[in-house]
Symmetry: C2
């Protein structure tokens, strides 16, 4: 581990200064023999946090997949399970490809939902765990056991989730308790039961819109309180918080704040989304993610969380500089807070996970999305000039 | 003008072939002494068409503008008029900067709305006209006289619009007849009167949502029929076509199709938008544009119409390959049709305005948005490897 002096750097856009890195952490003073990196007056931000993606299912590096999938959620789920077989998708290889592409864009932490189902068993989890081990010191990967194909409708899935959690998966996943499993009570009881058994947090996909989503959200709230899991539950997507009835949403959001439930948004342009300024005003921790990147669900996405900050900004109509800074905060400190990361930031004592970005201000960095000059993970240079220093398979 | 043989090229993703360019146009056979360019099996698409932007107001190349503007449309309009003075914005320089950045991204045709108001007079029009002349042979620029600050509420504006049209501006602009001018009858009578007097088409900004927008749209329809201007009227933004009452929208869209009114969308993530698949099914010509690029309205935008195709895709939830191809078509042939361009396309006889893009398929080209390998305008190489060959001021 190299000790560093980052010369002529602007932490979060502040006036230029020098920062020290000692034994992988930011430090008050320079270590003897520290190597100097001239940062050319660029802005330094803490490592970007990818708080919602699917490392096991990207098609990066494969021939182009021609998408002819039907319009319903279930069409996409069924198609994906089949295509994984027909393409012989290897979750270990695919997760490594996507994770390293994210590193090139300055991501230092990833929370990945990974499919667990009775068709593919724990192959996805094993693959992403192998990548996590291989990329230790380059990017931190947290795994959510994700019952993408349903849990109650597919007997045996809960047992696989249980096994995944015993193997070292950190988070219990869930998915549309009404829309997919058609049995919200059984679905939510199962995931809260697993969380209690393993002492692990929850992150549940909730695409359900309007009143259906509010109902599921209320059931999540009830169980969060009953299990004393305040601060341990994240709802991803939460499209129902983007519903037009703002009075109903406001009442729900107050309860979410009180139960310290976190929200992760991917800021899709074509679905209702939680209003991030409202969440921020209520103190609800909010992160962001890329969701699937070039997979059987759709062709878009690249893992660039600076681009995602722009998407958060565009979707929430954030135009003022302070608003764009909020979008960036969601893609850095917000995601870190949702994931409960220790020692995140640029202060002395924090892990030296950081990115040098182009632009005169933080808002310009988001608007430009230029190749990242430098990416550090624990003080180690992992990417330079937009290129990851570790080669992908 | 160089004659060319484009070797090993895939027109619109078709199998690799050779294409000939003779005297600035695609040709059946190669000219004697034609220069050969190896296209490396890349896809060739016709030049990207920027069908809605504001060349006169970009802040590209200036120090970062810290946006602290209020939330209403009128806040942004009033702020901009003032900031143009305080920053000493030169429309000639700014339009050249933006136009050349667009060329780097493969744009060969631009329709630019240019502010006409009693404060700045025709300075914007004169500046963009100077740029149009300077960049002849590099990018075609069409100018819309745009009464950004209102026309009826600012006496003297109609006369300035009239003068702009006499000077060679090609299109009559308009803006929210109810929302800004508060007098839809006077506003629309004025712009249709100018169109009739000068024999020029109309392109009107319509941000008005829901029933208010429907009302204005109906008034536009009435005048389009009365003036026999079918096929000569474009409505930009048309947020009212994104309203939730799809039956009302469908009835209106049928009338738009019948009156051959065109639609241009910028596919904003935070506003209701016309559903491009519905427009396509009705045969309504549809183009797309970047809108303002890094201006006092907001920090986003870069002029990349391949990225805009992605925005159109994301906003309209276009995931299948054929759907993504529609998004790209809107950013190429669709915009060209709206603008009534002659000789647009890759067929023999068409102007050799074209772009070499990266990716195995058209959908991948949109998803990747990689730097453009080559941009041709009338057979002349104007950009290479993402860089414009003409230096910006």
């Amino acid at each position: 581990m190299t000790d560093l002096i980052l010369k002529n750097v602007r932490p979060m856009g502040a006036p230029a200064t020098d920062l020290n890195v000692t034994a992988g952490r930011f430090a008050e003073s320079a270590a003897a023999g520290a190597e100097t990196i001239d940062c050319g007056g660029r802005i330094l931000i803490p490592g970007l946090v990818e708080a919602h993606t699917h490392l096991d299912k990207s098609l990066l590096g494969l021939p182009w997949y021609r998408n002819e999938v039907g319009p319903r959620l279930i069409d996409k789920i069924d198609n994906e399970r089949a295509v994984k077989v027909s393409l012989g998708l290897d979750p270990r290889v695919q997760s490594e490809r996507q994770a390293l592409q994210s590193v090139a864009y300055g991501t230092t932490h990833i929370r990945s939902h990974v499919d667990v189902d009775t068709h593919h068993g724990l192959a996805g989890v094993e693959g992403v765990m192998a990548t996590r081990e291989k990329l230790a010191g380059i990017v931190d990967i947290e795994i959510v056991a994700f019952p993408q194909s349903g849990m109650i409708t597919r007997p045996g899935t809960v047992e696989l989730m249980d096994e995944a959690l015993s193997m070292g998966v950190e988070v219990v996943g869930g998915l549309d308790p009404c829309g997919i499993d058609r049995d919200p009570r059984a679905h939510l009881d199962a995931i809260f039961g697993l969380a209690e058994k393993h002492g692990k947090p929850i992150d549940i996909h909730l695409h359900e819109q309007g009143a259906l989503g509010w109902f599921s959200m209320e059931e999540i709230l009830t169980r969060t309180r009953a299990h004393g899991m305040q601060g341990q539950v994240t709802v991803s997507h939460a499209f129902c918080l983007g519903a037009p009835d703002r009075a109903a949403v406001a009442a729900l959001q107050e309860q979410l704040a009180e139960a310290r439930i976190h929200i992760v948004t991917t800021a899709p342009a074509s679905a209702p989304v939680p209003a991030v300024k409202e969440l921020h005003a209520l103190g609800i921790l909010t992160g962001a993610g890329s969701d699937g990147i070039r997979d059987t669900w759709g062709p878009y996405g690249n893992g660039d969380m600076l681009e995602r900050a722009m998407f958060v900004g565009l979707r929430n109509n954030l135009r003022r500089d302070d608003e764009v800074e909020l979008a960036l905060d969601i893609c850095t400190a917000g995601g870190a807070a949702v994931m409960g990361l220790d020692g995140y930031g640029l202060a002395p004592g924090c892990h030296a996970d950081a990115v040098l970005v182009e632009g005169e201000t933080l808002a310009e960095a988001v608007a430009l999305r230029a190749p990242r000059k430098l990416v550090l993970k624990g003080g180690r240079v992992t990417a330079q000039d937009g290129k990851c220093l570790t080669e992908a398979p």
